[in-house]
Amino acid sequence: MLLELSGLAAGYGPKTVVSGVSFALEPGQILAFLGHNGAGKTTTLRSIMGLLPLRAGEVRFDGQVLQRMSVADRVAMGLRLLPEGRGIFPDLSVAENIDVVAARNIGADAMFRVPDVYKLFPVLAERPGIRAGSLSGGQQQMLAMSLAILGKPRCLLLDEPSIGLAPNLVERMFQQVREVCKSHAMTAVLVEQNVAAAMKIADRVIIMNNGQIVFDGLPDEARASNFWHYF
């Protein structure tokens, strides 16, 4: 297993937001991690990254317990977060965004180097000098995805990547995510409000409700069940 959560609990201040969250993902597996607003999806992702301390439980990545590791060490191991709406450096140009992240994250064993991300998202190569904050929503998300995968990503945590995007762009971007994950044996945890689009590319579905897992199964099983009442 690449990513294993067992009995994870986390929260903010006196409030525990998630508890008893357990799942394990294999390399290349795509998980649609769904639930209503405030269900605890983002809190779980932040805990995996080390941005929020655990109150109980354990997170393992590639067999190693992560609790004592810094955020930077987790990123170096291949855990990558694409944060909701904040995945670019808006005041820098497109090329500067890519260069600063590449300088810190590309080693000898990198899977994605600068030319690779320009090949994956050619529209970025067409406008390297444009200020990133002035790109369209779709282009900003492509840049954010580029920054998340530079180097050697092994597990992508995607937090609401479709927010603000046109429906046709969402479908295209999700297909790209699936292709990249499958071709590079990269695991993905996809937190998404666009349930139908997320389930289309997922191998597995987990639904959160009030901080706990209420469904864990295949996309077809989720479709067959009465899961909509959790949203």
């Binding site: 990254m49 941005l51 955020v71 930077a72 990123v75 170096a76 990558r80 977060l81 944060p83 904040r86 995945g87 670019i88 450096f89 808006p90 005041d91 820098l92 500067e96 965004n97 260069d99 600063v100 992240v101 300088a103 810190r104 994250n105 920054l147």
Partner: protein
Amino acid sequence: MLALQLLVNGLVTGSALGLVAISFSLIYSTTKIFHVAHAGVYTMAGYVAWSLASRGAPDIVTLAVTVAASMAMGAFIQHQLYARLERRRATPLVVLIASLGALAVMQNVIAAIYSPNILQFPVPWGSKMVVLGGVRLTWTQILTVIASLAAYGATIWFFHRTILGKQIRAVASNPFLAEITRLYPQRVYVIVVAIGSAIVALPGILVPLDLGLQPYSGVTPLLTATIAMIAGGIGSITGSFVIAIGIAVLQNLSLLVIPGEWSIGITFFIFVIFMLFRPTGLFAAAR
């Protein structure tokens, strides 16, 4: 002729103030800390230089050691004061009060060691006069303008052409993303305060060469620099620099029509005008 002399005096003072404004703006736009203790680093630089110069150290050694000492002091304040407070989740107000405290400690330690009275620099060439087109200038004033323009150019080059400069801008632009892309924001904060302290060491040495040293003299330049930073557009190096020069020129030219004690009033008048008509600053978002 008096107007021309006042204009040149304004340009000289503005050049020095421009460097204080650039350095303060760099630190504030990256760390979001209102680093009032920067005035203490500015003052300390003058006293370090004075100590070395009065012991006969060569000018280049005095400059190098003073810049290094200022960088070390800035890095120490960020690493040992601000970073510790941030780890304890201190509010911006607590950090501001801590910075004011650090400034008070630095000023009083300097006053205790050197005396609160004005000290003159023992550098004979500094006060030698040159007359250019009817305008009288000291070598220190000429050096101030040259050093200021060179430091401004070097700062722009560093932040736009080097990978470290771009990483500092990235941390200023989105510290959360910087954290999860291994740009090490806390380390960058120490570096940017050290760079800001190196820049402010230049006017910290050059202004007292002309006007003498006093332990409490750093606050007024910092106040003007703060106004230049806001009116120039927070995060804009060019904006801070240009507005600082503009303020100094207007302060000097105002002597033609109103008494000198009103010059601080001129500064705040400019500030109010900007707040009313261009609250985001003259060069907003153009770093």
